[in-house]
Assembly symmetry: C2
Homo-oligomer: 319 residues x 2
């Protein structure tokens, strides 16, 4: 199959229903006509075979995760996702693989209201890049630099599951039977917290998603906001069944790939935030406080500081 | 150097002066506030080591070309380039290499008024993806589907130079002394025709840039517009000094990597278009006509059809 046939067959055949899209895939560029009253949020993420996913990953899982990690950036801004551009360097054009990849990609895109408006395909060793755009009402986006002294620190979901699944795959130990599927799903098919992010627009001060590990990601908030933070390890939402594993706390604090939201809010918003738990069927957990100073301190049950060699994932250090 | 230090050092230190940028690099997403009265154009291109550039390419040349091929898409729409997001999968973080890459990247970006507002860095075998955004006044963009019966077909610049340089590198023959530098520069540092594209907004009907070969790229226009086209091979702008080489016509018609503009315009615009040649110090050549029917016919001096095995570059066929 030729490159242009591929584009036509899988991509151009889809109808674009979004009124802001003047021109979709198939020209030198897509054309968008902005609506007044909205800010646009734009972000890009690259995924590399053997680095971000196993070379034998199921195409459905890859498509899901590629969109999920980008949608998660929109969630962190409280933005409504709208448009995506997909670049792919593929070893070859295998029809079955592409069919499976595209079906999953568009199912997920439809699910989140995202239109694919551009892209590029070329030959290469399995590298995917997605650029995503979303909207908030003007001036409403959730930034990292808005944490305020005394804010509560909240996190959505359960932490450390993807890291547990990854550690299990790489180190070969067995996860407890009842955890295995949950952890695997979190690693392969994380659900970006898009609807939660939108609900936080009027509740949270600073927010971001956890991709490289809670500790490291929270430090982005404290650095950008010029504040410090204290986290209480005992309050972190972890899976009870994993607690027997000595590395569980480390997975939760530094493992990454969680794609949950970490955010700060003033204490008087606590009730509202707790109520979101029911609405989104998602644990909402207060795990610490924004403080004076700088950096993130993690305290154990005896109020002693916990230290780890690494606070999160660094793409250029050997694992 | 760690990933975040790299981002901070090379990218975040630059000041953003564009009033539409509410938030640049360093959060989960950049935030843009659209101006009324403008459409936004957005496009993305991926470049893979060993495929789009030689693995030992100079970092300055790579940075230039990465921006150039994307700027060329904006030129093809007649859009004013504004913002870019850069993803890079690099084997390692080598300071000298990065310094050279970033200096060249930002010099070129400044030159074209482009602000870098986002990106992603990861480890990988040399893959670069750029997403670019630009503006035109509302409804003004140049599309491929607007060619009209009887239009003249025009092309900017000289064709086939990059293909000649590539053929020389891959097949080892010597280019004439006086052509070598011109062809090499076209291959390594093509100049996107951004200012020309903007001037064509009120003159041209359909337009696109030549990246995969004139013949193949013109077929995108004829297909999208539901018309045919006839090209006169004798009228193609080629370098006289290359005419001795038997493949020169093939380079010009199918070689690609030209990053010139091909566009159609009604015959009464000919004088205006010829005048652009002086303004932009760039040959502007009428090479054919939009006709009834479909597809692109190329005629030689005896009015006979010319055929080549391949009309342009296909990323998934063996060279």
């Amino acid at each position: 199959m030729k490159e242009f046939d591929f584009i036509r067959h899988y991509l151009q055949s889809r109808e674009l229903t979004d009124a802001n899209i003047i021109l979709g895939i198939g020209d030198d560029a897509a054309i968008l006509r902005p609506q007044s009253g909205f800010d646009w949020h734009i972000s890009t993420d690259m995924m590399v075979s053997g680095r971000h996913f196993f070379p034998d990953v199921a195409p459905q899982d890859l498509a899901h995760k590629l969109l999920a990690v980008n949608l998660s950036d929109m969630a962190a801004m409280g933005a409504t996702p709208k448009y995506a551009l997909l670049s792919a360097a593929l070893p070859d054009l295998n029809n079955d693989w592409l069919e499976a990849f595209c079906s999953a990609f568009f199912a997920m895109a439809d699910n989140f209201g995202v239109s694919l408006i551009g892209g590029d395909t070329t030959q290469g060793a399995g590298v995917f890049n997605l650029t995503i755009m979303g909207q908030t009402p003007t001036g409403k986006g959730l930034k990292r630099n808005a944490a305020q002294m005394g804010d509560d620190i909240w996190v959505s979901g359960i932490l450390g599951l993807a890291a547990a699944a990854l550690a299990s795959r790489l180190q070969g130990f067995r996860l407890p039977e009842n955890c295995f599927a949950i952890c695997e799903e979190k690693l392969l098919r994380p659900m970006p917290r898009v609807a939660l992010g939108q609900d936080l627009l009027d509740l949270a001060h600073a927010a971001q998603d956890i991709s490289d590990g809670l500790w490291q990601d929270l430090e982005h908030i404290t650095t950008a906001s010029g504040v410090g933070a204290t986290i209480f390890a005992d309050d972190l939402p972890m899976l009870d069944d994993l607690n027997r594993h000595p590395e569980n706390l480390q997975w939760a604090l530094t493992g990454g790939d969680d794609y949950e939201l970490i955010f700060t809010a003033s204490a008087d918003k606590a009730k509202h935030i707790q109520n979101l738990s029911q609405k989104h069927h998602l644990p909402m957990t207060r795990i610490g406080k924004i403080t004076q100073g700088q950096g993130v301190r993690v305290l154990n049950q005896h109020q002693q500081e916990i230290h780890f060699k690494q606070k999160g994932f660094n793409h250029f250090e050997k694992a």
